[in-house]
């Protein structure tokens, strides 16, 4: 299988607010020299505690911001070196699902409008049949097309967001904590949906989570981040069965404890 996304030695720094007049604070390195690849049809999990740089990496993959060093290649093209129009033309190929299903849909726009947005932005005609088919793919009804976000539950909203993300038939899906805000039962449904879509469409998925339990059920490959630095990377199964680093072990234990807590509840 071909390499879809090639992240090469990517570093991102944020300036820290200066506290003293003549003392120059060193920049915060949110992502530090990360190299990783996503292959077509596979899922790369990125885990790490809060502040470890997961979302920063996702924002660079989505070309919302550029790395200070390194490059992100999508199908061989450095997305941060593309012109505005070239990037716009490429955007249908990689889409994103956000954490908060209540914040990622415009309350003033109907489901149909939101799902059609990537088509319109790419200059394609928002084809009604395609939108209906996509809604069906994510388990929504045709009648939902004219309804508004506030009429849906969190899980249903996440389905709408997924419909919007796959309507252009992308090759890569970036999911930043896409199920963290959902109830446990709904979470499983959405994870299953993502896996089904992956089988159906051959999607590459970049799946970000602080929760190793979720990641273990979904991911083929794994990258463990801590303070922007890669702690471990490799096949998900290998790392989860045999964590090579104390930090990964801590994350695993925390996930198991949480899982037990949820079963008890």
């Amino acid at each position: 299988m071909s390499v879809l996304l090639d992240i090469r030695g990517v570093t991102r720094r944020y300036p820290r607010p200066r506290k003293q007049l003549f003392h120059h604070e060193e920049a915060l390195v949110a992502v530090d020299n990360v190299t990783v690849q996503i292959t077509q049809g596979r899922t790369l999990g990125i885990v790490g505690e809060s502040g470890s740089g997961k979302s920063t990496l996702a924002r660079m993959v989505m070309a919302f911001e550029a790395p200070d060093e390194g490059e992100v290649l999508f199908e061989g093209k450095n997305i941060h070196a593309l012109g505005k129009r070239e990037l716009q033309a490429l955007r249908p190929e990689f889409q994103m699902i956000f954490q908060d299903p209540f914040g990622s849909l415009d309350p003033r726009r109907s489901v149909g409008w939101s799902v059609a947005q990537p088509l319109r932005a790419a200059g394609m005609k928002p084809d009604q049949a395609l939108i209906l088919k996509t809604l069906e793919q994510v388990g929504l009804r045709a009648a939902d097309i004219d309804r508004f976000p506030h009429e849906f539950s969190g899980g249903q909203r996440q389905r709408i967001a997924i419909a919007r993300a796959i309507v252009t038939r992308p090759k890569l899906l970036v999911a930043d904590e896409a199920v963290s805000a959902l109830d446990v039962s709904v979470r499983a449904q959405i994870l299953n949906l993502l896996m089904d879509l992956q089988d159906e469409m051959g999607l590459g998925i970049l799946f970000i989570s602080h929760d190793l339990a979720v990641v273990s059920s979904l991911c083929d490959d794994l990258l463990v981040l801590r303070n922007g630095v890669v702690v471990e990377q490799g096949l998900a199964g290998d790392i989860l069965n045999n964590p090579g680093h104390e930090y990964t072990h801590t994350l695993l234990t925390a996930a198991q404890l949480e899982l037990q807590g949820e079963h008890a509840a």
Binding site: F64, G103, S104, D106, R108, A121, R164
Partner: protein, 272 residues
């Protein structure tokens, strides 16, 4: 509870004013352009509900006709100033960086510039006229709406649905039109209602000073000015337009405040 009452009083006053203004376009109890020496300074009666003025014109008819002037001036000036200000605020917010800095500094300058001064300058340059008054009032609305629109828009730009739109490939312009503007419209409407009150007061003040509506166009401000010399003879002729101005300003002010309270979920939650 009191807020709901304020909103209702405000809405009631605005409704009465609007109906009176619209009605005067087709009907007033008397023709306010007809002067009559025999009918001047009449006290209130069944024929003339609020009596007649120094030229024998029916006061109710004059007040009604003048309300059109007040509303129209407020509508046009807030409309023009608000649109320009909103466009500037949205531009500042969409571009950020030095564009935002420049626009906001210019808006700050506009804030420091009193409307009255601007109206006097316009009057000095082009002669006093209602158009110049409208321009002056529109002018003061520009920086106000620039600030309000930019502040509200900056909040919307941080929302995930805007980011989702960007991921979809939408341009800054279409993100502004599709997401930002619709989601700040409630804020803008509230601000416009409040600025309506300010504009009505400003028009009255400018007309009172002779910088606004010119004779024979009826205007509350000018009625106030003309009644001034008759203060001892017929004080009611000053009181009536004064009350109208107060009612209109209060009406739009209360309505705007009430609307703001409903549209601001933080306040709504605090109330519950």
């Amino acid at each position: 509870m009191t807020r709901a009452i304020n909103l209702r009083i405000g809405a009631g006053l605005v409704l009465v004013l609007t109906v009176a203004a619209l009605l005067s376009l087709v009907w007033t109890p008397y023709d306010y352009t007809v002067l009559s020496v025999t009918q001047k300074f009449r006290p209130p009666s069944a024929d003339h509900w609020l009596g007649t003025d120094q030229l024998g014109r029916d006061v109710v008819s004059l007040l009604m006709a003048a309300s059109v002037n007040s509303l129209a001036v407020a509508f046009i000036s807030v409309g023009i100033g608000g649109s320009i200000g909103t466009a500037l605020g949205l531009t500042a917010s969409a571009f950020g960086g030095w564009v935002e800095t420049v626009i906001m500094r210019v808006a700050d300058l506009g804030f420091a510039f009193p409307a009255l001064l601007f109206a006097i300058m316009l009057a000095a340059a082009f002669g006093p006229s209602l158009t110049n008054a409208i321009l002056a009032i529109a002018f003061i609305n520009v920086p106000i709406f620039t600030r309000v629109a930019r502040g509200a828009a900056n909040q919307i730009w941080t929302r995930d649905y805007v980011l989702a739109g960007r991921a979809a490939g939408a341009s800054q312009f279409s993100l502004t039109i599709d997401h930002v503007l619709p989601n700040i419209s409630a804020t803008l409407i509230v601000q416009a209602t409040i600025e309506f009150a300010v504009a009505i007061l400003a028009e009255a003040a400018l007309s009172y000073l002779g910088l606004g509506a010119q004779p024979p166009m009826p205007s509350w401000g000018r009625m106030l000015n003309e009644a001034q010399t008759l203060m001892y003879l017929a004080p009611q002729l000053a009181i009536y337009p004064g009350l109208c101005i107060i009612a209109a300003v209060l009406g739009f002010g209360l309505l705007g405040d009430g609307l703001r309270d409903i549209s601001d979920p933080r306040l709504a939650r605090a109330r519950a």
